[in-house]
Symmetry: C2
Subunit: 199 residues, 2 copies
């Protein structure tokens, strides 16, 4: 429909996640009207990320050096490992400033329907990190959905002979949310996990 | 929050229209996991569009040559000009295959609130095209909103001394839509513009 290069850009943009044909068109016309320097910066950011980002040799998080920022930080407690599915989960947890241990990024969750089994995740690497017995707690912070729960259960069983403390993030009502809008499962979990108020 | 180059990419993506921080993050991680060749193709499409696309010297539509595909096509009727706001409107109209005339792209609509006046649009260029009297009909296809209507009214007044046929696209119910979901203004327009059924 469009002149060659415009259509090519729309097609390329349309392949990105969450970008439909209309958004691709809108972005393409925005690009057409942008300053050339801004577009070059975006193009460079795209190629640089591929050239310069790699994955941490220890935890699998994104990294610019051999180790990611968390693994390279000597102040982070190596005795506590928080297991997450994706690098973006690391960022979400870092944002809370609640956690001072290390991470292990699995690269996904067990999902038979998508053909993802335990061997497709970085579980062998996790077991290797636990082998010397220096880790005392493993926090399973996979997503609170079917795949994440299955992965957490699988991991908990795998590491149970090692005798370390294995925990799972609490499920419950989101802070600031409305009770009436919570789904039954979440509300059920919130009941199960209710805490005694010390007053 | 992220390692340098990843954050840079997220920031750059977040500047695109309709891409919020969450989408920018999702796209960035998609890029991280894509094949390098795919990413290079996207980066090239971005820079090529800036290098190779220009605007048609006649109508202001996007073009890869001096004239756009419509203006360069001798089969298109030069006596009918359809005035639109943006190049994407040209594509929308071309898709209908209803129109065999030429276009004129204004580059926007009159919008005092955004500081866009008649001088910021390609109105002078339109008047120049009408000067020799060879155009017989001017179809005003600006958007059916406040700014588009204001622009159409302004143009209709400007060209009224030239004695050519000036038309406006019909407003009414969208085909395939539900009458009960139409807003009052659209429904009102549909009544105003009702047609006699020849049965």
């Amino acid at each position: 429909m469009y002149e060659g290069v415009v259509q090519e850009l729309i097609d390329e943009l349309g392949r990105l996640p969450g970008v439909g044909p209309k958004s691709a068109q809108r972005i393409a016309f925005h690009i057409l009207q942008s300053e050339p320097a801004d577009v070059r910066r975006l193009a460079r950011a795209l190629t640089e990320v591929k050239e310069r980002v790699r994955f941490c040799s220890v935890c699998g998080n994104v990294a610019q050096e051999e180790r990611c920022r968390v693994c390279a930080d000597p102040r982070r407690d190596p005795a506590v490992i928080c297991v997450v599915e994706e690098p973006k989960d690391v960022v979400a947890i870092e944002r809370t400033r609640e956690f001072r241990g290390r991470y292990h990024v699995l690269g996904g969750a067990i999902s038979p329907i998508d053909g993802i089994g335990p061997d497709d995740l970085r579980i062998r690497e996790l077991l290797a990190r636990l082998a010397d017995g220096s880790v005392t707690e493993l926090i399973l912070a996979t997503d609170p959905n079917l795949e994440g729960e299955a992965t957490a259960t699988y991991l908990a069983r795998m590491v149970s002979p090692m005798g370390l403390r294995v925990t799972r993030l609490a499920s419950g009502l989101p802070v600031g949310g409305d009770l009436e809008y919570a789904d039954e499962v979440t509300l059920g979990r919130a009941f199960e996990g209710r805490r005694l108020l010390d007053v």
